[in-house]
Amino acid sequence: MAPVDGAHESVNAGDDWVRPLCRMYSDSNLEVLMARYQQGDLAAATALIHRLSPQLHRFFVVQSACRGDADDLLQETWLRIHKVRHTYRGGEPVLPWLYAIARHIRVDHFRKTLRTTAREQRLDDTPEVPAAVASGSATTMGLEALLAPLPESQREVIEMMKVAGMSLEEVARATSSSVGSVKQKAHRAYQKLRERLSGIGETKGSDGGSS
């Protein structure tokens, strides 16, 4: 399960001033960058922000947030990470630490959002299914559309494993759960995705046959 860096490249495309920093740290691992960040190295902090923000942003977008919310959550997450950067332990994997904080920020944010929106909209309304789900084929769907029907807990597990490239152990750490529980969620998510993708395939097939 290799990390997917396509989004990262698209972000940095128009961001020339960052490139030297990223290049400087291209061979370093995240643990080294975190250690330097803790020592007060601004370049290491900037490199971390540019390296990890795309996948964090995607995490927030996939987790039911709109892009505006995802931008806010990303900023809030980095501010919190900066505040609690001393809680990172050298030698430990960075991603579980980072995603554990990101999850906390997301839950906190949505709790506040729910409070303010509770009076304005019915919360038990079925969320709108993105248009791409209804009209697109499985291979052209965006990640958000593809994962939209999954429950939140399964969505985040799949996102961490398939987009962030985290191992089962790392996802378990990030979600404060056991490896067995993560495995079970991933298995159930795959079952649902299989049913859904097969359904889309059949619909497309029958549409093609009738036209």
Binding site: P54, H57, P96, L197
Partner: protein
């Protein structure tokens, strides 16, 4: 459809554009620039847990020294050898669990709820094995007194322990509160085992053990009140 095919579809979907404004990243980097200074990482888990263990022992011994060591004086050597090592083990487990709850991304060896359940069941088993006098006298009045004394010792333990872990960050505040409450309650029970000379089985099993349960519940309640509801499914906010 095979898992590999789903993997491919997910991989393809994840490669789609997720446009992130470069100005946003520049803004984030700039916002932390003004406060960029070296920080001291947290000490190792064993050291923090050791500190918590010492706080629990100090509070229990100090409390018993003030009130009198009547309980431990009445216990036989075998009873002491069964009760206090068990309490020490549960305190160590609770301390490790709380430290892990205060460090994001830590490996969770036992969920705080499991810890409370195991701790309570373990204490009940030890007390049931040690104390055989099922006769009761002043069950409620003597019990409430012990409960209050135990909880009164749990409060300073919780506060001092929090001071040790004040630089941590709990991503699951309910879990952290539950672990903290369990640890504090165990310090209260230890104090009672040093002090309480009432060795009736039901008294010890009900009222002494209740200190841990109530303290854990209070800790979880405080965590619930101060933090986000981790694990809740959030619906209806999709834009």
């Amino acid at each position: 459809m095979k898992d590999k095919e789903i993997d491919e579809i997910l991989k393809h979907a994840a490669q789609g554009p997720d446009v992130l404004d470069p100005m946003l990243l520049a803004q984030v980097a700039k916002s932390i620039e003004s406060d960029m200074k070296p920080v001291r990482p947290l000490p190792p888990t064993w050291m923090l847990a050791g500190g918590l263990f010492l706080v629990c022992a100090a509070i229990a011994i100090a409390g018993a020294a003030r009130a009198g060591f009547y309980g431990i004086e009445k216990l036989s050597a075998l009873e002491r050898a069964l009760i206090f090592p068990a309490l020490g083990m549960f305190i160590w487990l609770a301390a490790m669990t709380w430290v892990n709850e205060m460090i994001p991304g830590s490996r969770r060896r036992a969920a705080p709820g499991t810890l409370l359940g195991l701790g309570t069941a373990g204490l009940l088993a030890v007390f049931a094995g040690v104390f055989r006098d099922y006769h009761t006298e002043h069950f409620v009045s003597a019990g409430i007194l012990c409960l209050v004394v135990g909880l009164l010792h749990a409060i300073p333990t919780g506060l001092l322990s929090w001071f040790i872990l004040r630089r941590g960050f709990a991503v699951d505040t309910v879990g952290a509160g539950l672990a903290a409450g369990t640890l504090a309650g165990l310090a209260g029970v230890t104090m009672l085992e040093f002090h309480c000379a009432n060795l009736e089985a039901l008294h010890v099993m009900v009222w002494h053990t209740a200190v841990v349960v109530i303290s854990g519940a209070v800790g979880a309640g405080i965590g619930w009140a101060v933090g986000p509801r981790s694990g809740t499914e959030i619906r209806g906010v999709r834009a």
